[in-house]
Symmetry: C2
Subunit: 417 residues, 2 copies
């Protein structure tokens, strides 16, 4: 009896339809990043576990796929890219003109509870500007994230960017006598506030000598709290994308290493999910690589955005077109005379060498069955090879019109058809 | 003192130049596979360890990055894709028209001695035809592999396809009284023969009741030994690519699951390295998924092919062009009047929305420095925003010619420039 195997929980198989959808997301990420002059990089999927300890916050470290390799090294499948980026940039920062504009598309792994929109593996787009102190870099990333969403087919009705500033919270904490060493805990409380029962938040804030009312007043004070936020908003207004942005001090972002403005892309529909997020992390390059360099960046996972695309009509239509196109060929060579198989594969070879995506049956089947396969292949044209070879028939599968051709002129005739 | 982190031995950082080179290899794989009507899929990077036991040969199993996950499952980072493919196809084979033509591009992991052309991680192109008994499917894969090499810029002077047939060796073993259960060992001896001292091979064959001379005579007998090989060669002749192919019975391919014709792409220069390889594996889908289905496929890693591209002038030139193009923008917006920063980012936004890859400085720098940055960005055009705004100057960075434009007509003017 044969053994049956299954995918591990939280891991995905990408059958062709799903892989084409994934590729549509990847290509949109890549296309928009390149329009902003970003260049692509990639790091290893496996890293020393120490790279993630004390850098990424305890939550991520508890979720590591970590083990000892055959050389007794403590290693982890990467849960995020930023520590790797910091290591890479610190190692070779002299080789690159500042600011660096880098993006990456790769896979990440977290051993967490398997639920909708959250697997144990996911793909993530990471986009960072390094070596630029000005928060105009943060604004550039926000503009890029808005264009990403528009490239997927979303409009202002579908999403918003929520901008905040961690420094505004640090100032607030200082003004209200929160001890320096309690500030990370304080930021964690604010980060989880929306998802935590009010009473619990109240008790937690009490412990730091703060009241919930005072925190809420501060959140309500909005845009006026930080020069950084004002500068970012003004820049985005110049770009004509100010309408996509709102200030929301409730956003803190979980990761421990953020040091300034932070932002999230939010699903503006019923879901209210975070689609992407990021911020400024001016200390991490020093911490990881010993090189002081300012930095800001954001990341977008593939799972929430793909759900959102499938739920929203215009982005879904773009996705479906891309999925169909990716799996289509241009031409199907129909072998009407089984004696001409050699000629059919020779013709297919010619077309393919010229860049035409071409199918032809490997073994002779009935002609109606071949035309059926041609329709299903997404081909625009069928080319029929029969007893009249080297004369060929080109059939346009959209309107069934036909024209004659010959092997010598087939490429030109296809172009004109 | 900051801690310095390093990449694990055998793992690679892809800085932008290397990532662009990687992408050139990926895009060439993808482009040629699509010309042959193959569709892309992908499986998980982490799989149950049992998926690889007794399927892939002991060598691969000893090289697994394997561990227990937090749920006490025995898991492995995948060393190859074929068992995953067999699992996926067996699970949903009724949903797909046969034969399936599937390809994949992904990363794989083997804990082996770190050496040139062989890391502990590598990317691999996998390309398979499933559900087709005819060896014309094997011929189609060989034709595809030849077109891959040609798409990279290689010619018949650079590489050869060596074709063999495992069944010819099984017949040989049967004719010479080798016990059924000793045949896998026998195939391993043949596989390693070229790299093993003659005396040792002689002793090993003696143990099976065979002589080295008899084995060598059989290898010398070449093409005549198998109907499958004759059919493949005839098909490749029809396609006009027969010159790329030679029969070499010394090729057996290490993996335990091959059952018929096997082939390798060989570097025909001084290196004589295997660039890719594959074959028919008609039993594996039954073994993994309980569904009988014939199959053949091949894989090409990224490391040897990239070395070979860099060593060979024409492919190297194609690679360098692709690397340069991938990291270039189209337009650099020069901010000649620092007061006009808002107008500069607005113009950049307009260009980017129209698909033009555009850079503009985040903060004001001296104009000559901006022109220098424009040259280094690979931009074809600089657009100068100065005090005469909304009038703009378009400078062609190739010949320094200039023409005037305005924000309203900039896209048309760029197109005509």
């Amino acid at each position: 009896m044969a053994q049956r195997f299954q995918t591990l929980p939280g891991f995905r198989d990408f059958f062709p339809d799903e892989c084409a959808a994934r590729n549509h997301v990847f290509e949109t990420w890549r296309k928009v990043a390149r329009r902003y002059g970003f260049v692509e990089y990639e790091g290893p999927v496996l890293e020393p576990t120490a790279l993630y300890q004390r850098k990424s916050g305890t939550e991520i470290v508890n979720q590591l796929f970590c083990f000892q390799d055959k050389g007794e090294r403590d290693v982890s499948m990467r849960p995020e890219l930023t520590p790797t980026l910091a290591r890479m940039v610190a190692a070779r920062q002299r080789d690159f003109r500042k600011p660096l504009r880098w993006f990456s598309i790769g896979q990440f792994f977290r051993y967490e509870k398997h639920q909708k929109g959250r697997g144990r593996e996911f793909y993530q787009f990471n986009c960072d500007i390094l070596g630029e102190d000005s928060v105009l870099a943060d604004a550039e990333l926000i503009a890029l994230s808005i264009d990403l969403m528009r490239a997927f087919g979303f409009t202002a009705a579908d999403f918003r960017i929520r901008v905040s500033d961690r420094n505004a919270w640090v100032d607030f904490a200082n003004r209200h006598g929160v001890a320096e060493e309690a500030i990370p805990d304080f930021l964690q409380i604010i980060d989880k506030m929306e998802r935590t029962p009010e009473e619990k938040v109240s008790t937690q804030l009490d412990g730091l000598g703060l009241s919930l009312a005072r925190v809420r007043d501060f959140i309500a004070s909005g845009a006026e709290v930080s020069a950084a936020i004002r500068e970012i908003l003004s820049d985005l207004d110049s770009r004509g994308v100010g309408d996509f942005v709102e200030v929301d001090l409730g956003i803190v972002r979980g990761l421990a290493y953020y040091t300034g403005p932070v932002f999230e892309i939010f699903d503006h529909g019923k879901g209210m999910r975070a689609v992407a997020g990021g911020g400024r992390y001016d200390q991490l390059l020093q911490l990881i690589g010993g090189v002081p360099m300012s930095a800001c960046g954001f990341a977008m996972g593939d799972m929430v955005i793909t759900d959102l695309i499938r739920e929203t009509p215009a982005p879904r239509a773009l996705l479906e077109t891309a999925v169909r196109e990716e799996q289509s060929v241009d031409v199907y060579v129909v072998l009407a005379d089984p004696e001409k198989r050699g000629e059919a594969v020779a013709l297919a070879q010619t077309l393919r060498l010229a860049g035409v995506r071409t199918l032809t049956p490997l073994t002779a089947t009935k002609v109606p069955k071949q035309f059926q396969a041609a329709e299903q292949s997404g081909a625009r044209f069928a080319i029929v090879i029969g007893s009249e070879y080297p004369a060929l028939t080109i059939r346009d599968l959209r309107d069934r019109s036909e024209r004659m051709s010959r092997t010598e002129t087939i490429l030109e005739d296809l172009r004109d058809a």
